[in-house]
């Protein structure tokens, strides 16, 4: 890994493992979270291991692992059982000359201050993973790699750790590469997205732009859908709904939300289209949109990309409906949005 420009990390790695071949040559922003999404076996972990120096790839530097200052959060926390929580967190700090003593700051961010003097053996899965993230922060890395850090946790523990990752993203300046096969996690955390398939990058770019693509089989099925960054403007207490405003209009979502950097996830299967605005409908959100592109997803279904202001939505409709309504690129339609999930 080298600095291509001050604001980019260059990723150039090529490696053969049996009949698997990883070949990546790109640059990612040196700020924010870059999500790497792909099915298992797509080479996500291998790519991370190449970046960290745990695998030797052609194209990468030969700098030894311990001199790279690249933090690695593994699926399992990998805490050292012979050291207390505090000593674990200090392990990397003491070994990186120039690392500031940020134990208190990191412990506060991840709320592990209470655990510092405990042994690592009594920690819950979620606590242990938080400690391992604090340990990585304290080594003052110039990049953090996260390899499905929540996949070893059950649903409840996962939801317990996710808010800390949000905070890390919001409050800590260090760039993160976040690997996952879970689109929901990727949508919530990433700014930039890279899709890996059989060792190759098939798509990369800003999160919204990549998710708006309807030509990628990796983003078909239940992964199809768009995200919209929006600002909450009003809370309706009587019905527990929040009104968000975004470039394409206004949209209601359940629950109370106040974060000005909210992110809405709208699944393709929750969007339907009509030629006219339904006068009385149970659907809360009906927004005018323009058809930007269509692509066959299966023999029966079609994915339709819609433009609303600067933002885009994806709708899944049957190919029969597409024909009956004679929908084509450039048409003005109404998007009926059945469900909106607030991801952050």
């Amino acid at each position: 890994m080298r600095h291509a420009a001050a604001e980019h990390f260059e990723l150039k790695h090529s490696i053969h493992k049996g009949d698997f071949h990883l070949d990546v040559d790109t640059a990612i922003p040196a700020a924010g979270v870059t999500g790497i999404f792909g099915e298992s076996g797509s080479g996500k972990t291998t790519l991370l291991r190449c970046i960290a120096g745990l695998e030797h790839s052609a194209g990468g530097t030969s700098q030894p692992v311990h001199q790279r200052r690249i933090g690695y959060v593994f699926q399992e926390p990998q805490l050292f059982a012979h050291l207390s929580v505090r000593k674990n967190i200090q392990y990397g700090m003491r070994r990186n000359p120039g690392a500031r003593d940020i134990l208190d700051e990191a412990s506060r961010l991840l709320e592990v201050s209470e655990l510092l003097d405990r042994s690592t053996t009594g920690l819950s899965g979620g606590e242990a993973q938080r400690v391992s993230i604090a340990r990585v922060l304290c080594q003052s890395p110039r990049l953090i790699l996260m390899d499905e850090p929540l996949s070893a946790l059950d649903e409840r523990r996962r939801n317990e750790v996710l808010p800390y990752l949000d905070r890390l993203h919001a409050e800590w300046a260090v760039p993160i590469i976040y690997v996952s096969h879970n689109v929901a996690e990727i949508c919530r955390l990433s700014d930039h997205l890279l899709i890996l398939d059989r060792g190759r990058i098939v798509a990369e770019g800003g999160l919204q732009d990549v998710l708006a693509r309807i030509d990628l089989p990796q983003l078909g099925g239940r992964n199809a859908g768009a995200v919209i960054d929006a600002v909450p403007t009003r809370y309706d207490e009587a019905f527990d709904l929040t009104l968000f405003s975004f470039s394409g209009g206004e949209i209601w979502a359940p629950g109370r939300h106040e974060s000005p950097g909210s992110r809405l996830r709208i699944s393709a299967s929750d969007v339907s289209l009509s030629r006219v605005a339904a006068a009385s409908s149970t659907i809360l959100n009906i927004l005018p949109a323009t058809i930007e592109a269509t692509a066959a997803e299966s023999a029966a279904t079609e994915l339709v990309r819609l433009r609303l202001g600067e933002d885009r939505l994806i709708a899944r409709i049957t190919r029969r409906s597409l024909q009956q309504l004679e929908l084509k690129v450039g048409d003005e339609v109404y998007a009926q949005i059945k469900s909106v999930i607030v991801r952050r």
Binding site: V65, G71, Y72, F74, Q78, F80, A81, Y91, R95
Partner: protein, 220 residues
């Protein structure tokens, strides 16, 4: 009671154990991390003293360490003394005789290290050597205790190799097992009983201590 042989045995076992831990740990580490086709070859060589009769081992060590042997001749040139029938020679012979008893527990402990602990240590800024000392060894401490106890006890009990390489020189190579043999040969059963009882009690106490410690660590 004749304490001379007991004291000599204790010294020999102590020095041998120390040498085996210091030299055996890197060997055990190599065996645990190496996946080349040479690994089983080295593994087999290390385990040989378990199955070879001590007399075979002692016979070849006698030739090797003797004043005309490869190592012994070199030693004579270097120091002017012979290795055979000397304490130093006994230490070398004991190290080879007890090698598997020290290496195998350490190797097992290294192989049982949790998942990617070492990789985590490297990414946190520890060099391979640093991670070996700060993560691998502390987490393998049980293996080191077992290795020490077994190497010490096994060296204490050796007979054939010592007899071949060291002979029976009081104060120099007359260790406790040789002394017992001597007492029996001269029908001095009372002395043989005394020394034997000491060894029996010692063997039980150390093995009991080791298993008790292991059990306590397991339940932790």
């Amino acid at each position: 009671m004749d304490f001379g042989p007991l004291w000599l045995s204790a010294q020999l076992a102590f020095v041998t154990t120390l040498a085996l831990i210091v030299l055996g740990a890197p060997l055990a580490w190599w065996l645990s991390q190496n996946h080349s086709r040479w690994q089983p070859v080295v593994q087999a060589i290390v385990a040989m003293p378990i199955v070879l009769p001590p007399t075979v081992l002692g016979f070849y060590l006698l030739i090797l360490l003797g004043p005309h042997g490869a190592i012994g001749g070199w030693w004579v040139k270097l120091t002017g003394d012979a290795l055979t029938f000397s304490f130093t020679g006994l230490v070398i012979a004991s190290c080879i005789y007890s090698l598997p008893f020290a290496v195998q527990p350490m190797q097992n402990a290294f192989e049982a290290l949790p998942g990617k602990n070492l990789e985590a240590a490297w990414t946190l800024g520890a060099s391979k050597l640093d991670a070996f000392f700060s993560v691998a060894i502390p987490l393998s401490i049980r293996g080191f205790v077992s290795a020490s106890v077994l190497a010490f006890a096994h060296t204490l009990g050796e007979f054939g190799v010592v007899l071949m390489v060291g002979g029976n020189i009081p104060g120099k190579t007359r260790v406790v097992s040789i002394a017992i043999y001597d007492h029996v040969e001269t029908l001095n059963y009372a002395s043989a009983h005394q020394l034997s009882l000491v060894l029996i009690v010692f063997a039980f106490v150390t093995l009991f201590g080791m298993f008790a410690i292991n059990r306590r660590w397991q339940s932790r």
